[in-house]
Chain length 195, copies 6
């Protein structure tokens, strides 16, 4: 099979992009060694690009006592798997492997998080993320209390829900544009870690 | 019954907010005559607040030949009704009534858009928005071609999908925080328009 | 857009109708100030018309200690919203506003009854009505006991279930005939009540 | 196992019932040789009993060129199977076997009507009945046109939809009251017919 | 209506079949008095035929203290009804009637097992079988513990799940080949048993 | 996190197993370099073990003109992903990568086969496999004709459906026993192939 294109929509030339967007793409490219396709696929809409990555960074690039960066990626992978978002599962699966220093956890969560090597606390976190994703209208006090029993505070709970909700947006953008996953993500972080 | 609070989360004092956020709230308050609760309920997270409203404005505060501002609100109301988001249905229902100069259309769409006083083109637009909302993983070329037959171009189609996806995020934030709808929205735009 | 017709089916002339049906239509018209479309849309089937309104009146036009007339309308609105019945949500939403002397409650319930200004008892009532509507085959003793804990007796529980089940019938008749909602209902009962 | 009772609700003594209801029960008892439990289980609510059976008779006790009595029973069995209504599947399955003079057809339809010994016209009839039962909000012109191509006229189509909708009500009443099926129905009409 | 054929696929002549398969078919024919169609419909694939019936016999032709043969058939009927498998519901319904010496139980379970004349223990068994059939990915320790409280041991629980899972396979084979149910099954075991 | 065990059920010692089963396990161990857990997890039930692998081999270890071994694995991965079966997605994903000589295809299909680098013919194959998995009761002539238009013959179509149905069984066994995936599978076949 011929490989499918990056997006159903045209990809702008980097040289045609607004300076701040071009800069952000160059930064990520330097850091990752390649340009993740989502940066290219959203670039034709500069304002949406800026808002999207601002939102993303606000909830993903922080780390609290209650919610590590790796755990944030777990939420992304679980939510995106349920929404059948190829790009987000594979790209954030790679990031999760790296952040968790665990080459197995991303595939486990993508397939069935209930059977993954997670703590009861992390499973409760993902149960809540899935409820936000699939049935947010029915979220109630009992859901919140269960998370509190596992030691999450109100800010953590906001983060869990927001990450699930934000990636629900991301998943839909990816699927509506048939965004292609970069080949580089598939193998990242799969080598066993020396302990 | 006692009225429920604005949000499950605390609402910051306006005086404690960063200047740009306080200014944005004062602007909307002046324009609307009251502060829509979503501005208060998101204010405890300034970066997310900024990203949220930037995204919102980028897709809602524009008007293209193919997609009027009223039609954008139709997408919000249809998507939010399916996600059972009280705030978005009622607040954007009010805006839709005003923008469409039609006191009936918001309730019709919220209840069952297939039976509303819409053109076949508008119904196809909402069918696509609902597929993005409910089953985006299955969007395919046939969906896109159907919209093109109704005269939507690629940018319109991106907008329809993005609005549905963005309000999917908004609907989940509202439901997870039990955000309360301002009383003012219920009656706005319900008076018949002189033609 | 041109407005859609009252029904997919022809509407008989009042003068051609059987006397009892014509009389019932005139009575409701006098009381409401207009003829609610469901009376016109069912009139082509006199026996079904009679049975439908007899059933309706038997469960809706009574009031028990455990279940007020306003609460009966809450059940109608919640059930009809889930079944996406435009006519029933909007027409009975109007009646609910009037009977509950509350201009907000109908829209709140139609959008997401779990977030409406209701007592825990009323929410349990609607949970049961929704189970009858969506999953009656799984109703069990625990459902009944929960309602009893909230103070509903066996007759109330029958009423809650019957109202949900009867409006399931009504909702399907409306949707299969594309019955149009009268314009008059949209604004009824929306003015704030003096307390 | 001990047999379960006729209903979760008390069954009135025949002697305590209003004259018309007692008479109707005696008539059906004489005709059938036993009292079908639904007559007993609804009798504690005389007005609802009367309306229920009036509605039932108006749509089931007629026969049109387009829709035989046996075909009406097919709709009941298919709808009730989907709603998991034990009483209606078994009792109306018996009536269907008798009216269709076919000892196999009821079980075939109850299990999977798409695989039953039916004409393409009858399968289309049941497809529409199932759409009314499961997704009436989405019924559209294409559904109606398909039935017309199979020779159903507007009155037939109303009947198909109404029977499905009415038995949706009946199915819910049965399930909410845990109404027991009479033993007599199980074997009725199962003997092969001499042709 | 003309009767539908035994299968969408051709049925081999008995004389053309491998000796062991022909022998197995003759044995079942002698025992039952006719050849159940599933033996004919699978015979065109000898290896799959052998594996299918080996699996079937391993889980169905045994009886443990915790799970009788009749109870095993209950699981088949409940699972197959949910999967709308005409052949399995009707054929195993017949076997269930015979093994349980109860002419009513098969139809009761096929329609709605929650309302059948079953013990709480048997209902819990079927609840678990349905979870395996519909949502096996969510099975957890609480499901297992509930069965243990009803006295099932680990081997019983394996059997309940395996029977549900195996007949999920069987149901799909039947539906994909439009396998016809033998007329003989419909009436088997329906005569009341002398006690 | 501590790693979860191989199965909810005890794993027999190899030395205690019947000779043919021990031999089969040793053969696969020699070929793969490790013992895939499913061989261990099913070994406590020798007859089911034999039937399971006989069935598996009959449909998976053959190759026809219409359906390659790699395509058979695609069906396994797509079906197992939908059923959230961690073991089957990861283990057969590895086999698919090797058989297809494509390090990307397994993850693409597991996430969303509609967006994978597949031919239209392969996508139609997976659409049918998913219908067997999710809605086999509704399979009809149109489904079969579509596959024929893509060049599949009746035997191929039987195979596609059988593979989906058999792995439906496998997926349920894995989930009910919480079967653990061997670490070895995760990385197999991920290195780019020299062409």
């Amino acid at each position: 099979m011929e490989k499918k294109p990056i997006s159903r929509y045209p990809i702008p030339e980097l040289s045609e992009l607004p300076e701040d967007i071009r800069q952000k793409i160059e930064d990520v490219s330097e850091k990752a060694g390649f340009i993740p396709n989502i940066f290219l696929a959203l670039a034709h809409r500069p304002d949406e690009f800026r808002a999207f990555f601002s939102y993303h960074d606000a909830i993903m690039e922080k780390e609290s006592e209650g919610l590590s960066k790796a755990e944030r990626e777990m939420i992304v992978v679980a939510t995106s798997a349920r929404n059948e978002c190829q790009y987000c599962v594979i790209a954030h699966g790679a990031i999760l492997r790296i952040r968790a220093k665990n080459p197995l956890i991303a595939d486990q969560i993508a397939c069935n998080y209930r059977k993954a090597d997670l703590s009861a606390r992390q499973t409760a976190m993902l149960d809540y993320a899935m409820k936000i994703s699939q049935n947010a209208q029915a979220v109630n006090d009992a859901d919140i209390e269960l998370l509190e029993e596992h030691g999450f505070d109100q800010d953590d709970i906001w983060d869990i829900g927001s990450i699930s909700a934000f990636f629900g947006l991301s998943n839909r953008l990816v699927n509506m544009s048939s965004m292609r996953t970069n080949d580089e993500f598939y193998l990242m972080g799969r080598q066993p870690y020396v302990k």
